[in-house]
């Protein structure tokens, strides 16, 4: 914890004594200090031997030879990088600090992997494919959230949209074929979005309350409907054919990343497109300017003739399409049949990704990928059984707490986010 004391002692020497900055330094210092101590312990307990990284999965056509490196030495290097750059991170700010913080995080991960995998026969497999699979619904959900919240409507109901989308996608895919499942899922997402818009925009309901209620409602109604499907009709109503991956010619042949990124289901390709689309719509079009205007300062937007409520409706409904597709991922995209609570809280994680990404589609996507990566690592490390899988299971959530409390802190949401607009 010496870092902390050093920070507190050195703070008065800084040219501008900004209490906010000092607190940030203490926060970052505490986190870097704790993780460096953890790393120190891991380096001491790392077994000797080599660790290898397999860039291709055993099922790929083009096999690349694994990269091998000595565990203990790499762990030591990680520790040194963490201490050095961590200290630098405490005394810098802005983009430099962010970059340094990122490198410190990567060093920690590297050291941790050395500790976990040393003396194990398994190679570290390429986590790209799994990361993407975990992140896809999160990104869809975050896009829905970004659209709504940029327009000033808080969307906590992403989880509810996921559940409705997953159920509708499963049923419509079973009845009409699996691509119709995507349309069914999107439509169900829009239905929940319409409820959200109706109550939030027309009836001025507290939007956080509304979101929670809609999650309960969607959870109740989907399990009610599932109970209505008798056992003997499960096969004809709730048994979709899962979407099959399709390779994009050319791109899928890129080594290492190609098979992971470009041999995917159509839903994942739609996800790529949706990130581009939402970013483009929000920041490059007239409509996006209007959306952001009604989210930041609805009165001003109204004064220049923008129909505030109508623009909010449009943004929330469009978001519903993405959230519904995200829900479809849980049934036609991966698991097949709908089961109760199939989205297992992912909607809330998508919300966390949106806030960590500071309400920006690209930021939210990166945050969602981070979550996906942590989930995937948890999945892989479970096989080693060095750490109880339940404790590994909480790392994504603890990582979120650390990220939100330590690095993100007070984020600035759109100014009018959550405030119903009443024409004065």
């Amino acid at each position: 914890m010496s870092t902390v004391e050093a920070t507190a002692a050195d703070a008065p020497a800084v040219v501008v004594r900004n209490p906010v900055e000092t607190r940030r330094r203490i926060r970052v210092g505490v986190i870097v200090g704790i993780s460096a101590l953890l790393m120190l312990w891991m380096w001491v307990t790392t077994k000797s031997g080599d660790v290898s990284f397999a860039p291709t999965s055993p099922f790929d056509e083009h096999q690349l030879s694994p990269i091998t490196f000595p565990a203990q030495q790499t762990a030591l290097i990680s520790l040194l990088i963490m201490v050095g750059l961590g200290l630098a991170c405490v005394f810098t700010r802005g983009a430099v600090a962010a970059t340094l913080g990122f490198v410190v995080g990567v060093a920690f991960l590297l050291g941790f992997l050395c500790w976990a995998y040393a003396g194990q026969p398994l190679p570290i497999t390429n986590p790209l494919q799994g990361t993407l699979s975990y992140a896809t619904p999160l990104i869809f959900g975050a896009m829905a959230g970004a659209l709504g919240e940029r327009a000033g409507v808080i969307n906590i109901a992403i989880e509810g949209q996921f559940l409705a989308g997953a159920f509708a996608a499963s049923v419509s895919a079973t009845v009409f074929g699996n691509y119709m499942g995507l349309i069914g899922g999107a439509a169900a997402g829009v239905v929940i979005a319409a409820l959200l818009a109706l109550f939030a925009i027309r009836y001025l309901v507290n939007q956080i309350v509304l979101g929670v209620v809609l999650v309960v409602f969607a959870g109740g109604i989907t399990s009610f409907l599932l109970d209505q499907i008798p056992q003997d009709k499960q096969l004809t109503l709730n048994n979709p054919v899962v979407l099959q991956p399709k390779a994009i010619p050319g791109l899928s042949n890129i080594p290492v990343v190609g098979p992971a990124l470009f041999t995917q289901t159509v839903l994942v390709y739609i996800m790529y497109a949706s990130v581009v689309l939402v970013t483009f719509l929000l920041f490059e079009t007239k409509w996006g300017l209007r959306v952001r205007a009604v989210g930041e300062h609805p009165t001003a937007a109204d004064t220049v003739g923008i129909k505030v409520k109508w623009v909010r409706w449009q943004a929330v409904l469009l978001g519903g399409v993405f959230a519904g597709l995200g829900g479809a991922f849980f049934t036609v995209g991966t698991n097949g049949a709908f089961d109760k609570d199939v989205s297992a809280g992912n909607g809330f994680i998508a919300l966390a990704a949106l806030i960590m990404g500071r309400w920006h589609p690209i930021g939210a996507t990166l945050a969602a990928l981070f979550f996906g990566f942590v989930f995937q690592m948890q999945n892989q490390l479970q096989l080693l059984q060095r750490i109880p899988s339940e404790l590994l299971g909480m790392t994504p959530y603890i990582a979120t707490v650390i990220a939100v409390a330590g690095f993100v802190g007070r984020v600035r949401p759109p100014a009018a986010d959550g405030e119903p607009y009443v024409k004065g």
């Binding site: 001025l204 939007q207 209620v213 109740g220 009610f224 909480m394 707490v401 330590g406």
Partner: protein, 402 residues
């Protein structure tokens, strides 16, 4: 920060904030009347929507509706029968007999405690989605003390309860502390800590110390008989403890300086800070007390309901607590009434499922619909044509940080 919860009455003659406290019984009643009509109207509307779902789920009614245009009476009759049967079973299963009634009260007990926790945080301007996690923490502590320690009769129960309170309070306090120190949003923190609590519980249940002897299942033994709530008038003591807790929260909020500070911070943190109150202190204490209450809800399940500790111990109580608090408009008395209603819906729902085959999930749908209608008084007024008392305005809630 200031999700001004639904604390305002539709017709507050005494200004916003606290409901008018017994100054004049008649004036008091007339101030509450619109709220009561609105609440009843919302419940009726929710039951109507539920009726449609029951008809849709009833094969007999559905088959008769298929020839609706040739013989409409058949369909309507079958539909009404199905709805009547289901709701009659619901009513009978919730209040129809002494056993049913005590079932309802025992279901309501943890909801009262959890709902109070959410309500209290609401009043301090915090949206506590973490009742689930705090409840798990409390239940785990109560169960561990309850089945491993050997203590004298009354002491054992008390120590188990205190353990639950402390564990819940710590789990809630973490959120308050992080919020006050770093500004991290409590919605994200509580959601994440809910998951962390479940994972810790799963890990503990894998250890021998927590598993029932001679079993490898992730289930603990039931607590010792001297660490259980005794029965009193057909209901376990926990229900009375929950009602006492409601009185305590009422006293805290409306009769103490701390409660006043919490409400002031909830109403306007900037103004409270200017007035010399510590916003950080209010946040931390509100979350600690909210955690205590949710921890008590967890203890209710363990020492009251005598469940063994499993990873599903919290069920949906954590989330139901939020809807209970919303329905109760974040007041202690409202929370108790709302918890009783939800307890009746859940307890009766089990009977309904057994008697008529209407799934229990209908209860969940009904709960969500009731809260949804309550939260949108303008909609209910438009449907049932209650004369608008306050110009049709509702609670203008703020968002993430304003």
């Amino acid at each position: 920060m200031n999700e001004q919860a639904k604390t305002e009455q539709p017709a507050p003659s005494d200004g916003p904030g606290e409901p008018p406290v017994a100054r004049n019984a008649v004036a008091n009643l007339s101030a509450y009347l619109p709220t009561v009509t609105l609440t009843i109207a919302s419940i009726v509307l929710a039951l109507l929507v539920g009726a449609v779902l029951i008809i849709v789920s009833n094969d007999d009614a559905l088959s008769k509706f298929s020839y609706f245009f040739s013989a409409p009476l058949d369909g309507i009759k079958a539909g009404l029968n199905a709805v009547g049967d289901a709701y009659w079973a619901l009513l009978k299963g919730s209040v129809g007999s002494g056993a049913a009634l005590s079932g309802t009260l025992e279901k309501a007990a943890p909801l009262i405690c959890g709902g109070l926790g959410v309500s209290l945080a609401f009043r301090a301007g915090l949206f506590n989605i973490g009742a689930q996690g705090q409840l798990i923490a409390g239940a785990t502590a109560a169960a561990y003390v309850g089945f491993t320690w050997n203590l004298p009769v009354v002491v054992h129960l008390l120590v188990a309860l205190i353990a639950a309170l402390v564990a819940g309070g710590v789990w809630g306090g973490i959120v308050g502390l992080l919020k006050a120190q770093t500004g991290a949003h409590e919605v994200i923190l509580t959601i994440m800590l809910n998951y962390v609590a479940v994972q810790i519980l799963r890990w503990l249940l894998g250890l021998n110390a927590f598993q029932a002897p001679g079993s490898d299942n992730p289930t603990s033994p039931v607590v010792d008989s001297d660490a259980r709530f005794p029965q009193l008038f057909g209901v376990h003591l926990g229900f009375y403890v929950a009602v006492l807790a409601a009185v305590g929260v009422w006293w805290l909020l409306s009769r103490t300086t701390l409660g006043f500070e919490m409400r002031a911070v909830g109403a306007n943190p900037d103004a409270a800070r200017t007035a010399g109150m510590s916003v950080a202190k209010a946040y931390v204490l509100a979350m600690v007390i909210a955690g205590l209450l949710a921890g008590l809800a967890g203890a209710q399940q363990i020492v009251g309901h005598q469940d063994p500790l499993t990873d599903g111990i919290a069920g949906s109580i954590g989330f139901d607590s939020i809807t209970v608090a919303l329905l109760g408009r974040a007041t202690p008395s409202g929370t108790v009434l709302a918890a009783l209603l939800f307890g009746a819906l859940q307890s009766g729902g089990i009977q309904m499922q057994a008697a008529t085959g209407t799934p229990l999930s209908l209860s969940t749908v009904l709960q969500a619909l009731i809260v949804l209608f309550i939260a949108a008084p303008a909609l209910v007024r438009a449907i049932v044509r209650i004369r608008s008392q306050d110009g049709g305005g509702t609670v203008l809630a703020k968002g993430w940080n304003a």
